[in-house]
C-alpha cells in the first residue's frame, strides 16, 4: 500500500522554483533515500511534505488522504512524523517529557478531566509514561529519562528526536540528515537503529542524507534531485553508476 504519494509537486519562491515537478511514492515498510547536492531542495521537500510550506502546484497524499490546506499538526495525525536537520528538542524539559509531548494526540482526556484527575486521566497519563519508557529502553536511553534534553550528548539527542517522532505512532518517518555531525562509528550505530525501527515499528522511512555509506547501505530505493528536479531514481547500484548523478556531484 502507498503510504506516501506525491504528484507533480512544485513550489515557487518569487522567481526561484525551488522544487519542480517532484514525485515520489513510498510503499508500506519501505526505506527510501532522498539525496542531492547542497541547495538541491531536499529540506524544502520535507517542509512541503510536513505542511510547513504550501505547494504552488501538486498534491501530497499521506496514507491515502490529501494534505491540501492541512496544518502541520493535522498532517502528523494522518501518520507522518519528522526529525530536523538541526536538532529541535524541547531543551529545558526532561527526556521523558520530550516523548510524552509527542504522545499528546494519542490521549483524549479533556481540560476538566485533567483538573479533577479522573480515572481516564490517570490511566492515559500512566500509559504515556509506560510508552515513553518503553521507547527509551528500545533506544537504550532508559537511564537518562530524568536528564534535561539539552544535557544529552549529541548522538543521544539525535536518537531522542527519532524516539519522539515515533511516539506519535507514524506510518512514515521523515528523517532529515540523521547522521549529520556524527563520527563513522556513531553513523554505523545509527544505520543499525534505523534498520531496527523499520522492522520493529513497521514504518516506512524517507531519509535525507549526505553520508553516502549510510544511504547506499540501507536504502532500498534512492531518488536524486538537483536544482529541485529529479535527475535519477533507482536502486543504490543503479544510482552509483548513473552518469547524471556523478555529473551533479563531481561536475564534468
Amino acid at each position: 500500500m502507498e503510504i506516501l504519494k506525491v504528484d507533480n509537486l512544485s513550489i515557487q519562491f518569487g522567481g526561484l522554483r525551488a522544487v519542480d515537478q517532484f514525485e515520489i511514492t513510498v510503499n508500506d515498510n519501505e526505506l527510501v533515500g532522498l539525496i542531492g547536492p547542497n541547495g538541491a531542495g531536499k529540506t524544502t521537500i520535507f517542509n512541503l511534505l510536513t505542511g510547513v510550506y504550501a505547494p504552488t502546484e501538486g498534491e501530497i497524499y499521506v496514507n491515502g488522504t490529501s494534505t491540501k490546506n492541512k496544518k502541520p499538526n493535522e498532517i502528523v495525525k494522518l501518520g507522518s512524523s519528522r526529525t530536523f536537520q538541526n536538532i529541535r528538542l524541547f531543551k529545558d524539559m526532561s527526556v521523558l517529557d520530550n516523548i510524552r509531548i509527542a504522545y499528546h494526540n494519542r490521549m483524549s482526556y479533556g481540560l476538566i478531566a485533567s483538573v479533577f484527575k479522573t480515572s481516564k486521566f490517570k490511566k492515559q497519563e500512566a500509559e504515556s509514561i509506560a510508552v515513553a519508557r518503553n521507547l527509551l529502553d528500545i533506544f537504550g536511553m532508559g537511564e537518562f529519562e530524568n536528564h534535561l534534553a539539552k544535557n544529552l550528548p549529541y548522538g543521544k539527542q539525535r536518537k531522542l528526536e527519532i524516539a519522539r517522532a515515533l511516539a506519535t505512532d507514524p506510518k512514515i518517518l521523515l528523517l532529515d540528515e540523521p547522521a549529520a555531525g556524527m563520527n563513522p562509528q556513531e553513523t554505523e550505530e545509527l544505520m543499525e537503529t534505523i534498520k531496527f525501527i523499520k522492522e520493529k515499528f513497521e514504518v516506512s522511512v524517507l531519509l535525507i542524507e549526505h553520508d553516502m555509506k549510510l544511504v547506499m547501505g540501507i536504502c532500498e530505493r534512492i531518488v536524486v534531485i538537483d536544482y529541485g528536479k529529479i535527475i535519477a531514481k533507482g536502486t543504490p547500484q543503479e544510482i552509483r553508476t548513473n552518469k547524471n548523478v556523478i555529473k551533479a556531484y563531481l561536475g564534468e
Partner: protein
C-alpha cells in the same frame, strides 16, 4: 503485548497510590498553614487590623503572579497588560455586587457569583486579545498587550456606567483572610494540576520550540489561545478579590505600573515556577509596605533589592524549579550522608594540599 499491558496497569496502580497519599498529606499541610496563620491573627500575636489586610493583598498578588506565569513563564509570551484583565474582573465583580446585593443575602455566595462573572468577562477579553496576539511575538506582543491595558483603563475612565475617575464602591466586609486564602488555594491548585496535564505540557512545548511542537502534532493556535485565556480568567478572579478587599475601585489602580509590578514578581520569582511566583509575590508585596517607614529611601532600597536578585539569581529566585515537599524530605534525609561525604572530600583536599612552589622548579636545583 501482555507484558506491556501488565506494565501499564502496574504503573497505573502505583501512580494512583502516590497521588492519593500525597493528596491527603498536602491537604493536611495546607490546613496547618491555614491554622497557624489564623492563630497568629486571632490571638493578636501579630496585629490583625494591619496584617489581615496585608495577607489579603499578598493572596491577590499571588493569584495575579501565578496566572501571569501561565502566559509569560509557561507559554513564553511577553504580556504587559495583565492589570487590564484584572480591571475587567474588578469592575464586573463590582457591578454584580452592586445589582445582586439585595437578591443574594449570603456574602460568600455573592463573592462566588461575582468572581464567576469576573472569570467570564475577563476570559472573553482574553480571547479577544489572544486571537490577534497570535500573529505577534516578543516585544511586539508586549507593546500590544500594554496598549490593551491602557485602552481598558482609559475606557473605564471615560464611561458613564463606571462613573469615570470617581470609581465604584463595593459592599465592604465580604473579603476575609480565610476566603482569600482558600480562593488562592483553588486557583493555584487548578493552575498547577493543569500544567501537569497533557494540555500543560503542550503549552510548555510551545515555549521550548514552536516548530518542533507543531511537528509532533500540537495544535499551536489552540494552545496559545488556551494559555492566554487561562491567564486572563484568573486575573479576573484576582480583580474580583481586589474589588471586595479594597471596597472602592478607580481606573488608576489598574494602570501600566500595576501590570509592571505583576510582571516583575513573575520574573523575579522565576519564569515557569509556580512556587517561585508565590514566594516572590509574598515578598514583593510585604517589603514595600514594611519599607514605608523609611519614606524617601523606600524606592531606593526596593530597587537595590531588585538589582541584587537579578545579579545573583538571573533566572529568578526559583528558575523553573518547583518547591516540593518530597524534594525537601529527600534533602533532609540525605543531608547527613551528603555532609559526611562533603567533609570527607574536604579533609582529603586539605591532606593532599601542597604549597605551590615559586621560583625554582622541582628537580632543577643545582
Amino acid at each position: 503485548m501482555k507484558k506491556t499491558l501488565d506494565a501499564i496497569s502496574k504503573t497505573y496502580s502505583f501512580i494512583d497510590n502516590i497521588i492519593s497519599v500525597k493528596f491527603i498529606r498536602n491537604m493536611l499541610l495546607l490546613y496547618v498553614v491555614f491554622f497557624v496563620m489564623m492563630y497568629l491573627l486571632n490571638f493578636r500575636i501579630i496585629p490583625p487590623d494591619l496584617y489581615g489586610g496585608i495577607f489579603i493583598s499578598i493572596f491577590i498578588a499571588i493569584i495575579m503572579a501565578v496566572s501571569l506565569n501561565v502566559a509569560t513563564g509557561f507559554l513564553g509570551q511577553l504580556v504587559l497588560g495583565h492589570a487590564g484583565f484584572m480591571a475587567i474582573g474588578a469592575y464586573t465583580a463590582a457591578f454584580v455586587a452592586l445589582y445582586a446585593r439585595d437578591a443574594v443575602a449570603n456574602n460568600f455566595l455573592l463573592f462566588v457569583i461575582a468572581s464567576l462573572s469576573a472569570v467570564v468577562t475577563a476570559g472573553i477579553a482574553g480571547i479577544l486579545v489572544g486571537t490577534p496576539a497570535l500573529r505577534l511575538r516578543g516585544d511586539y506582543l508586549g507593546i500590544m498587550t500594554l496598549g490593551f491595558g491602557e485602552i481598558v483603563r482609559v475606557l473605564l475612565n471615560n464611561m458613564k456606567v463606571t462613573k469615570g475617575s470617581l470609581g465604584l464602591s463595593v459592599t465592604p466586609g465580604i473579603m476575609s483572610v480565610p476566603l482569600a486564602f482558600w480562593t488562592t488555594v483553588v486557583v493555584v491548585v487548578f493552575i498547577y494540576v493543569f500544567m501537569k496535564s497533557r494540555h500543560g505540557r503542550a503549552i510548555l512545548s510551545i515555549r521550548e520550540d514552536e516548530i518542533a511542537a507543531e511537528s509532533v502534532g500540537i495544535n499551536i493556535t489552540k494552545y496559545k489561545i488556551m494559555g492566554f485565556v487561562i491567564a486572563s480568567l484568573f486575573a479576573g478572579v484576582g480583580g474580583s478579590m481586589y474589588a471586595f478587599h479594597v471596597g472602592y475601585i478607580v481606573p488608576t489602580s489598574f494602570g501600566f505600573m500595576k501590570s509592571i509590578d505583576i510582571f516583575v514578581i513573575v520574573v523575579l520569582g522565576g519564569m515557569g515556577s509556580i512556587t517561585g511566583a508565590i514566594f516572590a509575590a509574598a515578598f514583593f508585596t510585604y517589603i514595600p509596605l514594611e519599607l514605608q517607614q523609611f519614606e524617601s529611601y523606600r524606592l531606593l532600597i526596593y530597587s537595590a533589592l531588585l538589582i541584587i536578585v537579578m545579579l545573583y539569581r538571573p533566572k529568578g529566585l526559583m528558575g523553573t524549579a518547583e518547591f516540593s515537599v518530597d524534594g525537601t524530605i529527600k534533602f533532609f534525609r540525605y543531608l547527613p550522608k551528603n555532609l559526611y561525604n562533603g567533609s570527607k572530600f574536604l579533609i582529603e583536599k586539605v591532606k593532599s594540599f601542597e604549597f605551590p612552589s615559586f621560583g625554582k622548579k622541582k628537580g632543577s636545583d643545582q
